[in-house]
Symmetry: C2
Subunit: 373 residues, 2 copies
């Protein structure tokens, strides 16, 4: 893959990630399709709302249906009927957050499936093998995501392991793949909330050399200011010519801080999960669709929104579908929230292009700072 | 509304129901949108698969969100973003099957909501008031649906009450509605499995005069042959120039018998409910999508089907989505099953037009008679 920067506004930047399956404008939001589907949506809907790339989860697809099955069908793109770029995570985060009875070894992690308790193993080589079988466009190196809080000594040992694993991931791709079969590979900066360890992790990964650099281990329970400190510290140290991906961070307040500091790529389940729970993002702040005052409100969820949901359905109908637990509720809410997110990113790119990012940030901090109504 | 017959093949017939909101080709299948949405589907999808009319449930919408709310939004069509015809049932069937603590009186039924136990009342006038508030195109008279089995004496008293209620429904519409606010009204033939009572019920309703005639109280647990006996007995007695609606019967084997005997309209949750449970209809019989042999099958669910699901997704993917309990599973399965049903009806109309209905019936009895694979 290639990455070009087209505009800057301070340290915020617009760019383009070029892959064999198409271009992605950055700053980019990647909807999450954990099990080979962005929950509640069809691929056609994702295309129509302008999604240029999605993220899918190696851990989940490895366990079910299994990467060999997906390979035999023609890869994840064919399997899920999505021909635009896909980024797959490494499975590391899920092994450490979902699986049980983990045993960390030098060559990887033994764990039990959260689905059926069966015994499995993922390590750098296996995580690469799985991602290559899926036919991903951008693979993530296998890492250990340290929890919060985490003592200094553990964070050191963990980041050293993550560096060795990152090297093994790159070596695997060097020896086992070539040409169009070789995905781009991003290294993942760890180091907990310790700035010196973050810098060290980044330096070690940069020496190995990756197609892009991600920051993991944030938004794992730490106070916002600690996260912002790490973001502000690490961003300027990251190679300017490579794309910078802030993993799992999708609260738009956090996105604004990260983009201001030069991050390019984001993923988060927030818009889709919130949609299913009835929390909707609008140009005037967050709304709970359950509110009694929407009972007979014939108006749209967000009069400023051009999504299919806002153009065709009333607040009263959305409230009814949610209370009646109808599947269409999850569909219409997800369409709206993802449209809102993708539109937010589009407008943010326009603001960077027009050198008005500060005003954009200030406006949205005001809107997003208000409590859910 | 108007009803015209265009073709006949024996006693099977093709026709057109004309309403102010559009035409419906008969024999017609009406997808069921119980709570103001056909479960898992958008109205756009229903249109794209050729649905010309849907059924919605008075009982459910009366309880939640309430007919007055729907009226205030502009009626059910606006509420759910569906501008084609809607037939609403009377609420009678649900009062007798879902609600609890029923008290039947001359003027209606007192019952407790299956949602929250609250006390409610539906009778002929109220059922009409609700259906008019919803803005239905075809209203059903309020009836008592007798259970199976049901003794003769009870069936007599029940059908007499149903006749009196049917008269009250018509009188209500005569005095309370006019012009475009007045929906078509169908009477419902009851009488259990007693042919003489069925004939009497039909005769009494015919004397009152309705826009169409429905047969209720079938497919309520009786043996198939008993149901077929009633169908074969009652159809030729029904006014030939009016549309004939067999309520709640949607097993395609039963539909074939009913169409052969001159029925025109059908509704059933079978295609949508089965879809959500992973049972899919194909040109080669029913399939359970869970089957292990589909694990890595790259082929479509039904190679003879042109629906969005069969054109874009493999059996392996459909199986994966179902096992992973993904919402898209319910969507893709429902798209397929409803497409299959609507296409079955389209081909059945073509067979009647070409006077080949017997061959059509024989072919499908062979396919449908095989057990679920």
């Amino acid at each position: 893959m290639n990455f070009f920067i087209s505009d800057t506004d301070g340290t915020a930047r617009n760019g383009t990630v070029e892959t064999a399956r198409g271009q992605v404008s950055t700053p980019a939001f990647m909807p999450v399709g954990t099990q080979g589907t962005v929950k509640a949506l069809s691929p056609e809907e994702l295309v129509s709302m302008g999604a240029e790339i999605i993220l899918s989860n190696t851990y989940h697809l490895y366990l079910r249906p299994g990467h060999e099955i997906i390979r035999s069908i023609g890869g994840l793109h064919t399997f899920m009927n999505w021909d635009r770029p896909i980024l797959t995570d490494s499975g590391g985060f899920q092994v450490f957050s979902l699986a049980s009875l983990r045993k960390i070894r030098e060559d990887g992690v033994e764990f039990r499936s959260h689905i059926d308790g069966s015994l499995h193993f993922l390590g750098p080589e296996k995580a690469m093998e799985v991602q290559v079988a899926l036919g991903t466009d951008i693979a993530m190196a296998f890492d250990e995501c340290t929890p919060y809080p985490c003592d200094y000594e553990y964070a050191v040992k963990s980041l050293e392991l993550t560096t060795r694993w990152a090297q093994r991931c790159k070596s695997y791709l060097d020896s086992e793949t070539q040409g169009s079969k070789r995905p781009a590979l991003f290294g993942i900066v760890q180091g907990g909330m310790y700035k010196d360890l973050r810098a060290r992790s980044l330096a070690e990964l940069s020496r190995i050399g990756f197609d892009g650099y991600a920051v993991g281990g944030l938004s794992v329970g730490e106070p916002k200011e600690e996260m912002y400190d790490v973001i502000r510290f690490i961003a300027p140290l990251m190679p300017a010519e490579s794309s910078r991906y802030l993993m799992g961070v999708g609260d738009l307040m956090d996105v604004l801080v990260a983009v201001e500091n030069g991050f390019d790529m984001f993923d988060c389940v927030m818009p889709t999960r919130n949609a299913r729970n009835g929390t909707l993002f609008t140009s005037r702040g967050r709304i709970s669709i359950k509110r009694t005052e929407f009972k007979s409100d014939a108006g749209p969820l967000d009069p400023d929104c051009s999504c299919n949901t806002c153009r065709n359905y009333s607040l009263a109908y959305l409230r009814h579908l949610f209370l009646a637990k109808e599947i269409l509720s999850m569909r219409l809410n997800t369409v709206h929230n993802l449209h809102f997110y993708l539109n937010f990113f589009k407008n943010m790119r326009a603001a960077i292009h027009n050198k008005t990012f500060s005003a954009f940030k200030e406006h949205w901090e005001g809107v997003l700072g208000s409590a859910t109504q």
